[in-house]
């Protein structure tokens, strides 16, 4: 693992992995909110978000599912955080962290959290 930025950090490897996971989830939410989406391009958007996350440092795995609800293919809507389910694994120096963002019914907003 090559990390020229390491010297700037005062934290454990696990904390670093957690920080990077937060950065990625916050970035996904704010970058892609607003993209026009319907059934014809939803799968492409899922894949392009995944690929855009995977090129960032320390990302081991990412999956993105977008639930656009009952919209028809003749119309479109704006992508929002509520529609996204993102699962992310970040590894830093052997420390693995699983993070997720998805809409949580009892909170009524898309929660970003650390799993397991």
């Amino acid at each position: 693992m090559l990390d020229p930025a390491r010297k700037y950090f005062q934290c454990t490897d696990r904390e670093r992995a957690i920080f990077e996971a937060g950065i990625k989830l916050g970035g996904i939410f704010h970058q892609y909110t607003g993209v026009p989406v319907n059934e014809s391009n939803v799968t492409d958007i899922e894949r392009v978000i995944e690929k855009s996350v995977l090129i960032q440092p320390f990302v081991k795995h990412v999956s993105v599912e977008i639930n656009i609800g009952q919209s028809t293919s003749f119309q479109y809507t704006s992508l929002s955080g509520e529609m996204m389910d993102v699962r992310l694994t970040v590894e830093y120096n052997g420390q693995m962290v699983n993070a997720r963002m998805h809409y949580v019914q009892d909170l009524n907003y898309p929660l970003m959290y650390l799993e397991e």
Copy 2:
């Protein structure tokens, strides 16, 4: 052509096509600026922008080319307007308009304009 919004407009069909072309180019610039990009996902981003534009009303054709310069596949950069070359054809009630956004050397910024 079905256009339930027509009654809100006070303009010719060609003016409407021009307005819609402007909306799409302004939207592309501000939606996708910031997306992490390198050689491994640049083609996917081009296609996803095209598909996201094509689902919007009155868009007849769109092509997106992204020039990421000499970045290597081990690094990535943030997509910016300067990297994009977008060609767009909008048709409204038979009136066709060609618009484009690309970096113009002598202006030193990505210009959005109407072609031909």
Copy 3:
């Protein structure tokens, strides 16, 4: 009016004003969708959008109103196009165009259109 980009355009002055109005509205929608907003910062966001539009060429006037609904100041929501009411006047070479974006009940989406 100084316009070094004029030579790139094949259109009337009014068409140019219309095109520029479309660019601005499309840009506003896609740039600010996703900003965290509640009663404590909504006025600041309105003003910053206005100022960010006013520095762009040919914009004569802009007003932005954001309707965040019944959210309380303890919580926040993500800014969406449905919440925005934008009135924009663009002038190009003496040609004035009034454009607007706001949520239209009978269309059920935020419409961008040319007024009067």
Copy 4:
């Protein structure tokens, strides 16, 4: 501290604070990249970003400085991560974390990191 989301997390309080700090920095970068900026609105943008971060949970303090370089007030540029210097303090259940994003010369990109 009221945190209805706490039950979803499997981590220490400090790790939670670090995660939230990452979310905020990633979000700032991707939300505001692309905003038109020059000397006339740069201070307003700094303040609006700060206010938009402060309404999010567990944020204790935030300061944003934007360096637009030698641009004149007659022109404008697009806000980019390289221009931002963000200092952020997150507190979760008594655990304080200081994070920062700013352009780092020897890395040649805007680094997000944990301070002290």
